[in-house]
Subunit: 333 residues, 2 copies
């Protein structure tokens, strides 16, 4: 696999998206998020998505001319309308609003409606951590998981992320999807022609499968069984009932050419420790907890691997599959 610099990757992604119809700000915001994911070892949410996003911009599933707007605002609560554009500029506006309002009012909850795939959920929280604030991110995605006991996919894999700033270290970043594994892992396995372990997915008849393509046509298993399905229900409601966005089962898969505007939802919760326990107490508590965890040499803090990879990628770039690189070069024109 060719090793490429992050700058090169960003340039390719931005040009490919702009050429497919995204306005300059949308293309730049999207390229930034995708390259971040590649740098952090999350290639299923990286520039591998550019061909898909470009296709959506071309076939109308995403609107390259959309500019995010504030649709409602009261105190610490804001609703952003992404206008069916790609999600990243809308999420950046949402996070910007959430940070400002949390500083003024201690807490903010900003929802995004009429949105699209928002990539690595944790990416959006980096600005929250840098501002010294605590944040959570929620999002839904096209139906992938059944409700507890059910056989039809209703919920997306519905990521939850959280960021907690630390006094003398990079913020603690936690980022997980509510499926046993991320759907992107099936996508990668399918592209690479590899099989998947049992327990990741069901085929369309509801049977366990080791075939990633059968899994992509079927449904993903939620983490933790019925409890994982309940958490997905919470996330779906947080990002649809509170925003007006489409529910997982209403959005067509990202991985088919023909489909609707997904109109997905996201939400960002931001809390200012200064309004509650205060900085000194906050700092002492988080460091005490993380120190207790890492006393056990077998425990690694969430995000530690990502941080290390990102530092390495900033120096030496990342390796991407040759076929993807060729496709990006072609799309960038």
């Amino acid at each position: 696999m060719p090793q490429v610099s992050l700058e090169h990757l960003h340039d390719l992604a931005q040009r490919a998206l702009a050429r497919a119809g995204a306005h300059a700000e949308m293309a730049a915001a999207t390229a930034r998020a995708l390259v971040y994911a590649d740098a952090h070892g999350l290639s299923s949410h990286g520039v591998a998505r550019v061909p898909q996003y470009a296709l959506h911009l071309r076939n109308g599933r995403a609107d390259g001319s959309a500019r995010p707007e504030i649709a409602a605002a009261k105190g610490g609560a804001v609703l952003i309308d992404a206008g069916s554009g790609l999600a990243f500029a809308a999420c950046a506006l949402a996070v910007h609003e959430a940070i400002g309002r949390a500083r003024d009012l201690g807490v903010a909850y900003v929802g995004v409606t009429n949105s699209h795939h928002f990539g690595a959920a944790g990416y959006h929280l980096e600005a929250v951590g840098a501002a010294g604030l605590v944040g959570m991110a929620f999002g839904n995605s096209p139906a992938a998981m059944p409700a507890a006991g059910g056989s039809r996919a209703i919920f997306g894999t519905d990521p939850i992320a959280a960021i907690f700033p630390r006094p003398r270290a990079a913020p603690l970043l936690i980022d997980l999807s509510l499926s046993e594994v991320a759907r992107g892992k099936l996508m990668i396995a399918a592209k690479e022609g590899k099989s998947i372990p049992l327990g990741w997915a069901l085929d369309k008849e509801g049977k366990p499968t080791t075939d990633p393509n059968a899994g992509l046509e079927g449904s993903m298993l939620p983490m933790g069984g019925a409890k994982g399905a309940m958490l997905a229900l919470i996330v779906e409601l947080l990002v649809t009932a509170l925003t007006g966005a489409a529910i997982g089962f209403e959005a067509t898969s990202f991985f088919v050419e023909e489909g609707n505007r997904p109109r997905l939802g996201q939400a960002f919760l931001v809390i200012d420790p200064m309004a509650l326990s205060g900085r000194a107490v906050y700092d002492e508590r988080i460091e005490t907890l993380l120190a207790a965890m890492t006393e056990d040499p077998a425990v690694r803090l969430p995000g530690a691997r990502r941080h290390a990879l990102a530092a390495k990628a900033a120096e030496g770039g990342v390796a991407i599959p040759a076929a993807l690189h060729r496709e990006l070069v072609e799309l960038a024109g």
Copy 2:
């Protein structure tokens, strides 16, 4: 098992707690919460806890004279100090503050510090749902689960609950702990001399066990493996770093006589749909989602069983073990 009315149970619990040193308001708030749990089929968080709470009031692990106070407040963010009293009056104040501030500012986050066992997390959210608002509750508990990869219990079983009001039905209430099963289930099995399935708990050497007593001395397994442990880390930080409360591993088990004031933390997030999508959109979205779920006859909505049990209990009371009833009568004096 004798069948007793909820009024009788409330009266016994209230008198037992008052006799152990709880002031009238604390005893009443606690009895209300415990009887609610019994009525909703959650006996591990019901009046079976009265002997334990009474013991804590007597041996100083809980302060029966404590009155919850607002320790900090800014906009939608409030910190309540429970003063090491039983948790229920402090949580009621927290929820009251959260409802009022969410109505004014769209969103509120209220933490509680220096607290105690807060019982069934969903109980506290009933007032939020009745006010037409969306709510979430988080709490920690004495260390029960290791971090991912670790062998020492760091996190509590750390419940997450959520409530979503519905236009023509009781609010949807979701309530789960982040362990594979609730610790209370081991307690019940131990009392009844029953074994537990593999996969619920590890013994103190970190080996899988079917003995509930060995499990209570060891650690609980998080739901969904490493992802469940990450969710527990999020909950611990939300209720300790933001409040100053003790981390799971700092609080002595509730199930030992000698121990510290647990100084646990709770937090309540309340969001007003009117500040975001608005009532009509909110109502349509939640009903569309729940209708899609229940189209599949195998799917039951979370909380449905609890609602049915509570309606039955309000009519005919609940059955409680004869030994527990005798103990309550004795404690009530």
